[in-house]
Subunit: 340 residues, 4 copies
């Protein structure tokens, strides 16, 4: 039972097959290939709006690149204290922005508390030369505690931010998991909820490494600068056709949603098994493919001795992550370990 992370999972075979299909003859480099063009059109259908598009192989890079066109070196990015960009990217946003500042905000279940956002916006003015002004808001959905922001919750944050001219970034490393959990459309969970730039990740959901930076509305005007920064950061790989191919296969026939649904379903089952045992309490609601529980020592020992792979989270909880490839027999083994 490897429930350590969705990045340890194998790649979905349809995406590997797409690589082979894409490998026919010559193709222009650096995003000028036909597959990248086709992907852009496909995403415009899916998001029901015009977009600008940049592809990378890394979620950290996508987030940092996106933030670097929203926040100047002398500006500030507001995010949750648990945000991946703050906790798990070794200062990538600081690097790509040229020294921007991240201000960690608190809130239950890794959701930014709108009151904390309001307080930060009040405390850090837009136009006082001595202090760093907030210029961007970053929201992860699905978030780092495995919780999904509803559209209303998103708007309660993006509304006040946009009023102050902040750019809005969504970290969508697990966007598909949030989508199927909430039953919303991609448009509703992105630009209609106040998002300027969405980092849409496939890597945690079946791909080798395929991430799309999707610019909406006026943010599309920043494509040129984004490409300059992408190139300069070594993230404009020459053979973009192989990223586009993965992502096209991932979107085809709603495969991305199916995989997310599968992962979310497995997580729900993991949560059910753990809590039903009486030896675990949910630390956060399970909205996607991640389960955070507080484990009794006895259960923890049983799980470990059965070789269950999970992660001790810094806050004292245990994190179990399901992926599209979590198998029935793994869940059965988990159940057996719990009830031994």
């Amino acid at each position: 039972m490897n429930l350590l992370s969705d990045t340890t999972a194998p790649v979905h075979p349809a995406l590997l097959a797409a690589l082979a299909d894409a490998n026919e003859g010559y193709a222009p480099s650096y995003g000028a290939d036909p597959l990248t063009g086709r992907l852009k059109e496909r995403l415009e259908d899916i998001f029901a709006t015009e977009i600008a598009l940049v592809l990378t192989t890394s979620g950290t890079a996508s987030n940092a690149l996106a933030l670097s066109i929203l926040c100047p070196p002398h500006g500030m990015i507001l995010c949750h204290d648990e945000a991946h960009i703050h906790r798990d990217e070794r200062g990538a946003p600081e690097f790509f922005t040229g020294g921007g500042k991240l201000l960690p905000l608190t809130g239950e279940h890794a959701k930014i508390d709108p009151n904390k956002l309001a307080a930060a916006l009040a405390e850090w003015p837009q136009d006082f030369v001595h202090t760093t002004p907030p210029r961007a808001l970053s929201i992860s959905n699905l978030n780092e505690s495995g919780c999904a922001y509803s559209t209303a919750e998103l708007q309660a944050l993006t509304g006040p931010a946009r009023e102050k001219q902040l750019g809005v970034h969504f970290d969508g490393a697990r966007f598909a998991n949030a989508l199927v959990s909430l039953g919303e459309t991609p448009a509703a969970l992105s630009w209609q909820a106040g998002c300027d730039v969405l980092c849409l990740g496939a890597t945690k959901n079946g791909a080798i490494g395929a991430e799309a930076i999707v610019l909406f509305g006026e943010a599309r005007d920043r494509l040129g600068e984004l490409q300059a920064r992408q190139k300069r950061a070594g993230h404009m790989g020459p053979k973009t056709r192989f990223i586009a191919a993965q992502m096209l296969a991932w979107l085809e026939h709603d495969l991305w949603l199916d995989l997310a649904r599968q992962a979310n379903g497995a997580a729900a089952e993991i949560a059910r098994l753990l809590t039903a045992s009486g030896g675990a309490k949910l630390a956060h609601p399970v909205d996607g493919n991640e389960v955070f529980v507080r484990l009794d020592p006895a259960l923890e020992r049983r799980l470990k001795s059965a070789g269950a792979g999970f992660y001790a989270w810094p806050d004292g909880s245990a994190r179990f992550v399901a992926s599209w490839s979590t198998r029935e027999d793994e869940l059965a083994a988990l159940a057996a370990a719990i009830n031994r």
Copy 2:
């Protein structure tokens, strides 16, 4: 006849097959997978020495990361005026070093003239607080004019640089092409020639995107810092097993050398066809898979009307690049176009 670049070529089937083989079950992320471990051992055999290893998917990133551990923000990198790091990476070394300075040196056929190196080392002292001190030397082999530095030529540069405590970086995006052209061993063309950090590229020679940053000797002590910078730059993709798999397949049974030999052979034939026609003169020796010629206008027109793909180089020459996948029928078509 697509002779625009070796990055427009398809991927070698053996590398795609290796991806599928690597896609079995779970694997630790971020370089802790068994394939990456095996690759390190394989490279230590090939280079006949102990190494430290970092994998990325981008040559620009590899170069910039390598330089960032050799040159501080207040230091200088010496390179040829035609160097890819200076001309074609949108300031990536400046970004990754935190504002280091590149000093472009001249020399025939994109080879740094040892006298120019000596002059620069004399002009820019190591210990004068007002001026930027040289801290790294970067050499491309195969270089940007398609020429190979011999081991003696390399030592004539790395010797004086090392005497002044400069770190030495080799850009080996086409290292295999240089190897087979010179008939040298990997060790002879790297650490034995004074190299601290080699960026060994497979992307231009059959891979989707696979680049190894190879640290030799004392440079291995900088692995920790290199990994911190790799992570921070978004170049520590989670699923390293798929980069390692490509590179292992590429090295297997000397495939990398065979592919390079094939590309070099095709380039030699292109050079022969062009010059034999009387309508083209070589601008540089053809040591690898790139051919630079000065074209007569008449021949240029004939080639263009036949749909030949090549690149107008900034210096007025025309660049033809062969790859492992350049086919006999393409060469025949080129011959036909030349002689029409």
Copy 3:
């Protein structure tokens, strides 16, 4: 009654006179002048240890330069949430470190709570490649709420930090005020309390613009790098003799301590007047030259209509700052305004 800030105060005449004295004939530039040499000796006497020394004209620059030799771009600086480096320097530490991260810690009266420090050190490990490791601790003494850390309080913070190999920076913009308040020696409040680099400021205490970055112990080995960064940041002004002259005059016959004592005394009187009126409550202990009070609306109106200059602090309190030049008649006018 201008009690807005100690930077609005005039310069002490002895320091102006010293400028004229220093203006005799030619003097070597960039710190090689005899006055700078004499200042270094004087400071070594005062701090009772060997030091390395860099002079600037700006406290923000001194702090950021000092931090840039303690914390790499991929490292983290721990400081209080109210710290000047976090709140009032527009991201200077992030700029000078090349993108380092500041982690704001809490604690009463702008003093870092040792438990919060311990928690941060536990939460952010030293050697996990994905997270930003703490590399420096920054403490302001006198701090931003006008409070002084005792030597025991300092050691409770610097001890655990040094155990984890963090570099320790003291922001001493009001170091003299802390010294006279605590009755400690300069050595006791700096290197003996675990400080590697002290930014000793004269600007808020009588100078035009004179700040010393003082390196203790092993930190002295970083002088070369500090000078490189100082030059590169445009903070190695040519005519250092005029900074050294100011600081020598400031230290002469303990003038710096006299001026600090005067300012602290005026602040104590301001605090007494305000609280005695019943219309103000101290928000923080008054250990130096700053008074933070919560004002009754009636008293606030009276003060404002009398033209008293003070600053509305973001936390809702009112800040009154005394300087060496706060005059008896200003205190009398304040008393009159309070009691009108």
Copy 4:
């Protein structure tokens, strides 16, 4: 005879006196003081146009700040190979721009050759994502070989640069020397000659440390960003009144021009003495206060044994710098040493 540099000279007494005059009572910090306001008006008179103004104490800082609002991190600054910003500022422009690239151009007597500029603009396109686009042109006047660009020479450079939307920076560390040498108005040698941002230096011409960054025309819109960067770089010292006071005194009754005239006259006399001896040949025309000569070994020995202070320039010439304070007796001593 100290002819090493104009930064070793003493400060003009009128400027010291102005400090004392400015030292009356309280004054707002950070540029809000009345003297800074008055200085802005005075400069608008002198330059016959509306300006925006920022003051610093350092020429290196002024140049780097100015360039940082003209050139993005992914852009390039064109300058002469001898430019102070390239040769003598330890990478300050690279630091302040966040990793911009300097492209050194050649040309006689440290003047950029317009053909070299044209070639660079052709070679480095504005809109190719892989290469660094020129975004700013930097011209020193008086330049690093002591030569003055005429208005026609300036326009031959700024015209083509502005056509390509480059911002134009003038390094005016010795602007006054160029002014009196050419007999032009300040307007003619700045905005009328295509300058967007002038760094006007008083430090080499009588001040302790006083530099004005003067924004013309549309560049004035970037004042907000410039101030943010000034603050963040630690160059917004609190007590701006003392910089403004120096500069006002310097401009009063054309003192700045008188001092420059005096320095230029002394340099002309030094050049006459050296060349008349037959032992020295001018390396460059003497347009300002700097003399570059190639010295016969015999004369060089005589000068050294007489204790003459001058600087061995990297190109093999000897640099003699006169300042406002070069005295008759020093010139007489030089003559004696030459003719001994």
